[in-house]
Symmetry: C2
Subunit: 187 residues, 2 copies
């Protein structure tokens, strides 16, 4: 895109800055882990001014939670296969791919670390989970509307997501059979 096209599309520069900043955060989390870098370091790596970050996101926690949320949403739209078992299997496999992918463990550690970084972090973590739970709930509601007996979103958290999260957080890895087994056990 040249300068003229950017001028015609006012979202262009803002979107580019957003993408650069997200990329810088993802890299810094992978390299150093959560909590070991500053807004200044994100800004330097993204090639923007510190003040641009503070103006747009307000705080490092808010920026971090936006990055985590974007990853989770972009990588796992909720499936709609027509059956609860199809939806849950597809969903579990998506989450497994996402949390074992190149940025997955970093994003998962971030979600966990946010919850231990004071009130603002707790709120950011809660926002991520609320959005995720809302998406999951609509998938389960669709199953109920079709007359299927569906678990609630907390059952899915406790018995499908939590085991996968803990195994990845503990560096234990996930196999497709293991992930399918969690879904079968729940159904």
């Amino acid at each position: 895109m040249n300068e003229k096209e950017q001028a015609r599309r006012p979202g262009g520069r803002s979107a580019r800055v957003g993408a650069q900043v997200h990329q810088a955060v993802t890299e810094l989390i992978s390299e150093r882990g959560y909590g070991n870098f500053t807004v200044g370091e994100v800004a330097a790596r993204a090639g923007v001014a510190d003040s641009s970050i503070y103006r747009r996101w307000g705080s490092l926690e808010t920026l971090l939670s936006e990055v985590a949320l974007t990853h989770l949403n972009a990588q796992s739209p909720m499936p709609d296969t027509g059956s609860l078992s199809g939806d849950l299997r597809t969903y579990a496999a998506q989450v497994a791919r996402e949390i074992t992918g190149p940025d997955g463990p970093a994003v998962l550690h971030l979600a966990v670390a946010l919850s231990s970084s004071g009130q603002r972090g707790l709120q950011a973590g809660a926002d991520i989970r609320a959005e995720r739970t809302r998406q999951l709930q609509s998938m389960l509601d669709r199953a109920r509307d079709r007359g299927e007996r569906a678990p609630d979103a907390f059952d899915v958290l406790d018995h499908i997501l939590a085991p996968m999260y803990i195994r990845v957080l503990f560096g234990m890895g996930l196999t497709p059979d293991y992930v399918d087994g969690l879904v079968d056990r729940m159904l």
Copy 2:
């Protein structure tokens, strides 16, 4: 204990240094989170020389894993109530108390953080879990020896421990009814 008693008990000073260093680590984890302090800061707070820490523990990761392991073991000896359901209920309640107690979330974050801090951290985390799994397995083996149908240690990890860990890591809290419900569902 006076100087003379210490001189008669060669373990005295070593045990005292160990306790001071453990206390310093626990405080620093609670105050700053994992990864945000150095061996030098632990030494300063414990009132010992950096070199004493390196000589005894070799690295910060090894020290951190020893602290985590001591907490987990000291606070949760495995129950032996005579029945699997009694053992699992008591065990789950102990773990819940431990991870929601004053140092619990810090120790849990530490266990998670260790796994993302390179090879030495991964090994330290694996050692903590191996010790824990061994204890759990003997509890389940006792149930099998009595003729009870017992789950395996990984089922307990996936469906009792993982949901509790994730809820505490996400700042969601645990109620006794919730914890009992996890055990009942498994049995």
